[in-house]
Structure formats: structure tokens, C-alpha cells
Point group: C2
Chain length 161, copies 2
């Protein structure tokens, strides 16, 4: 029986190290750190107003739900939307991401946070809008995390600075 026990032990070790075993042992802390790093890179690209660096952080079929505008669906619509924002006089954006919660499989997550968007009105007034934001993230086949749903609403009326 000795040899059989060794064989069984090896088989069990192999099956638990493979496929479903690794799924059960997803390192969620590592995935959360990966999302926070991605989000920080996204923020840096956004504050730099670098359209080509910003766009890949949304999945190709992502949706932005921005107050008062029709849903912005897909990469081409997002490109137009972001290019328009970057071209707005006095535009700036910053955000702080707070909570990130992951699914057990480590392939979906959502994050919450706040953002601040500033712009200059046609009559030269500098306005700032504070928003609350929720992003839904999906892990891509290449292991990167991308935003699939990007929704925000106003904390209150926009304020003149």
C-alpha cells in the first residue's frame, strides 16, 4: 500500500495545484493591489490629459454614465467624450478611490470614490463639480484590469472657485 499512498498523494497534489485548485486560491489582496495600481496609473494619465494613455483603461465595450448626457457606450464614443473634456477650457480632473470589493473568483470588482472636475465657463468663471463615482472592473484575458462601467453623480451643485 505504501507506493499507492505516495501515488495518491502526488495525484491529489497535482489536481489541487491545477485549474480549479488555483481558482479556489485566488489571491484577492494581490488583485486588489493590481486594481489600485491600475487606477493610480489611470489617474496619472488623466491629470496629464493624455488621451491615448487614458483610453485603454476602459474596456472596448465599457459604458460611462455621466449625469445629464446619454450613455456613452464603447471605445469610440468614450474617445469623443474624453477628447471633448480635455479640450474644455480650464478642464481638470482628479479622484480618490476608496473601497474596492472583489468577487471570490477575482475576475470582477467594484470601486467607490469621489472625483472633482473643474472647468471654465464661457464667461470666464472657474467652476468645480464634486462627484461620487462607482467603477465596475473586469479582469481581461491578458491579466490586466479594465473599467467596464463608470458611473458618477453630483455631490451637490457645481461651485464657483
Amino acid at each position: 500500500m505504501g507506493r499507492l499512498v505516495i501515488v495518491l498523494t502526488v495525484v491529489l497534489a497535482i489536481t489541487s495545484a491545477n485549474g480549479c485548485g488555483s481558482r479556489a486560491n485566488v489571491d484577492l489582496a494581490k488583485e486588489e493591489a493590481a486594481i489600485r495600481k491600475t487606477d493610480a496609473d489611470w489617474l496619472a494619465a488623466s491629470t496629464a490629459h493624455d488621451l491615448e494613455r487614458v483610453l485603454p483603461f476602459w474596456a472596448d465595450d465599457a459604458t460611462i454614465l455621466s449625469p445629464g448626457t446619454p450613455p456613452i457606450v464603447g471605445k469610440q464614443a468614450i474617445r469623443q467624450y474624453v477628447a471633448g473634456a480635455f479640450a474644455t477650457p480650464g478642464f481638470s480632473i482628479s479622484w480618490k478611490t476608496e473601497k474596492i470589493e472583489l468577487s471570490n473568483s477575482g475576475d470582477m470588482a467594484y470601486s467607490t470614490g469621489t472625483d472633482r472636475v473643474s472647468f471654465t465657463t464661457p464667461d470666464g468663471k472657474s467652476m468645480t463639480q464634486e462627484n461620487r463615482a462607482v467603477a465596475v472592473w473586469k479582469k481581461q484575458p491578458d491579466g490586466s484590469w479594465k473599467c467596464v462601467m463608470d458611473v458618477m453623480n453630483a455631490a451637490g451643485p457645481a461651485n464657483a472657485k
Copy 2:
């Protein structure tokens, strides 16, 4: 070797039928149907303005992000918020849920849709607000699905009916 092959086959069959095997075979279509059923029950309770039936659809630590109000965090704050809405003259709510996307593990999902909230202003005008909404759902230890994040924004200005 014949007996060893049989033993190994049995071991592999047992390990793949257990634990991680069932996780790999989550029936996502069944989970999506469960969320749609839950959402329909939630809508029915909401249109009936039945506070005690409505509240359990949010998780105890759920957050509602409603435009222009501070985040509504936790069951007690949600109770006050919903009770206030139901007490608003002319209040009604309805919604349509569109897409539901699940994590591979079938324990997290998000849904998108639109809602319509009507109310009567103090000077007797009936107003209707159209919103876009995103809900994040988490499967609970008892197998039920609850909303953990409920965020919406306005499709445009509120309209007088």
C-alpha cells in the same frame, strides 16, 4: 497496474466532483435568473410602497448614491431615506433592468437599467425624473442576492407631466 488505474480514476473523479469542481461549474444563467427574479420582487414591493418588504433587498452594509444627497450608508439610513421617499406627496417609482453581468464565481454581479421617479411639488405640480441606474449585487451566505451598491444619475432635468 490495472488496479492502480482504477484507483486513480476514482480519485480524480472524486476530486473533480468535490469543492473546486462545483465552483468551476457555477450555473451563471441560473444565478442571473435568480437576480432577475429578486429584482422583479423588489420592484413589486417598491411600487406597493411596502417599506418592510423593500428593505431586505439591500444588504445591511449597502450604500445608495443618490444625486445631490450625502451617501446613504447602512440599513438604518436606507430605512429613513426610503420611508421619506414613500411619504413624499405623489411619490411613485418604477424601473427597468437591462443588462446583468456576473463574476465567474457567481457571487458578484452588476446590473444596469433606467428608473422613473415621480412626485408632487409643494405647489402641486407633478414632476417626473428619469434616471440611469447601476446596482452591484452580492450573493449572501443563505443563497439570496442583495444589492450592496445602488447608484443612479439623471438622464436630464426633471420634467413636469
